[in-house]
Subunit: 203 residues, 4 copies
DNA sequence: AATGAATGAGGGTTCATTCAT
DNA sequence: GATGAATGAACCCTCATTCAT
């Protein structure tokens, strides 16, 4: 059992991959709603019928695409932060990892969060990020000093701000490295937006 | 003279209003993409043809809906802040006004910003808010102390955070008054999210 | 009884005339099928409802337009040929009258016979002409020398040829006067198309 | 290899043929304008969507129908007249071929030339025939005896007459064989319509 | 596993016609 | 008599999905 991927299986996986890649490009280019199954299959150079051999429908494929992206990001975060990260320091490092990942997966981030998404998709992705952030927040609560605000509210605040900063930077990096934009976001989140609390020279 | 806005015109305006109201409800319920022109006209109890007498297409109607909303909010803000608001104090007051307005126009805010929107719509609304915030920021820059961060980036940060907090609160107010949620957001924006800077008792 | 046309009636007739004129122009410009009732009423500067006060529908109006044209032509023919025309000579004269009339009523002839017509209209007009020609033919049959061909066939032959020659000339008169084109058509009809029977210098 | 026009392709061609046949019948019955795509697909017993798989729109299909008809007629003429026809004799023979073809393709001729056409279609078909006739005329001009009339005018004359005679005969053959009606038309065209020049016994 | 012809519900839109004013 | 808002049937067309091959 599990001897080899049976050429057949390799071929099948290859087709599936072609579809996912084509979908990412097409959706990033034309937007989720405007991209038809035909656009995807033509870009993948397979027949329309084949699509339904691999995915239940367009939403299924897109969800797969996004979950793959999340999984990859998670892996990367885990690797970068080690098994037991010390939270305080690790937050900024986590942001750095996320921005680096975003830079390398622009299409995917646009599909998840930008105009190219469907509102549905956008909210789903946002919720995913938000849940992850909430998880982290909950992990940091110490029993004798409970948080004065609901963790899910904090998570939404952070995620909303982070996503918009991320999109601003993905559209045009303004000469900022992933590390630089991570530092800015970290500072804004932890110190607020009043001029006094802002760094003197950002970039 | 001018006694009669020509019953005709009154009738027409009435129909137009019925369409706008029906559209707001239907889109809030089913989402922008899932709502057909037929759904709207049926809810408004007019014929499909009538729709096209008043609006070029679904997008036109929705844009009208949203612009109306923006206009109403702007009016309200202007009234509340007076002719010459002192910026520093007025920020929190502005947030209060916005949250009060949001509470009274849940459907509209969901349509603009929530899952019910199209991604396109969502970004457009977000941009609108973001531009308004940017405007305010630029208005506060004093020549001898320039902002260390691009105003549009700050605006995106604030808007992203604000919108998510707003949606969190619109979905379920968690027992928080508009004033309370405005205070929380203001605090998070100006002092950051670290536990130390958070108030002791939120609501 | 019949005192004066009662200002009211004059006004009504005036509106009717405006509609007919507008229709002729619009249909000549855009074609019968492509011309909407709205196009006509706007050109006539009356409301859409008014249209149906004067005509049952678009076809009714168009038929009226064409019948008016026929009536005018008939009047002109009667005047020109006198009460008892001697057939032989009168045929060419009749053609001259028709071509003169066509030149002065291009729009109408285009609507009846050209691309601007509906196929229905075209055949109706053609049948009208054909019937008129048949009438003439039957009037010339002398009992002891019956025609060797059915009069309706001859009439269709003549009408078909005449209409196409007429359209050729209406589109561009090629420098030919009504009299000249009438002479050509007469010659072709009576002598045939073989080179030998053709006149030496046409125009 | 090439044994199989890929059952797929055969099936597709079959569907296409069903659509063309159904369209010919329906348009012949109800007229071009009055026939909807739905009428055609129902008659062909395929779904509405299938229509658009084979033709861009109704006009596209109709053009195809007519061009097919022209092509078939042209083939037949070429076969009948041989490679190098002697013009003089061949004109009557050509008419015979055309009338035979018309008899076997009544629906198509009605669609192209009769009330069932759109005026547009009618003029297009007429122009096609007219151009063909003009071609023939030009081919017969001998340098030292130039035609005294413009070839296109002659062509229009002949075509107009021929089409009307053809329609007269297609509607009801009046007991005339294709050969007989061809002879009549030939005689009328070459000798004119005056009683003296007409044959004594028509059929 | 792959194909692509066929499906058909549903979308947006137009426009001749009606009718209350 | 004139108006024009409202009607609704009918149209063309797209596209996600199915299914026979």
């Amino acid at each position: 059992m599990k001897t080899q991927p049976t050429r057949h299986e390799r071929r099948k996986l290859h087709t599936r991959r072609k579809l996912l890649d084509a979908a990412r490009q097409e959706i990033a280019r034309r937007g989720y709603e405007a991209t038809g199954v035909l656009d995807i299959t033509e870009a993948a150079d397979v027949s329309k019928g084949t699509f339904y051999l691999h995915f239940r429908d367009k939403e299924d494929l897109t969800r797969t695409l996004i979950l793959e992206g999340f999984a990859a990001l998670r892996t990367r975060l885990t690797e970068a932060l080690g098994a037991s990260p010390r939270p305080a320091d690790s937050m900024e490092e986590a942001l750095r990892v996320v921005f680096r990942h975003a830079a390398e997966n622009r299409d995917l981030f646009r599909i998840m969060l930008g105009r190219q998404a469907s509102a549905e998709l956008q909210m789903t992705a946002l919720e995913y990020f938000s849940n992850a952030v909430e998880e982290i927040i909950r992990g940091q609560i110490v029993p004798d000093r409970p948080l004065p605000l609901p963790p899910d509210l904090l998570a939404r605040f952070i995620t909303g701000a982070g996503v918009q900063v991320g999109l601003w930077w993905i559209e045009d990096d303004h000469g900022l490295s992933p590390e630089a934009i991570a530092a800015i976001l970290y500072r804004l989140l932890t110190r607020g937006v009043l001029p006094d609390s802002l760094p003197v020279s950002p970039a």
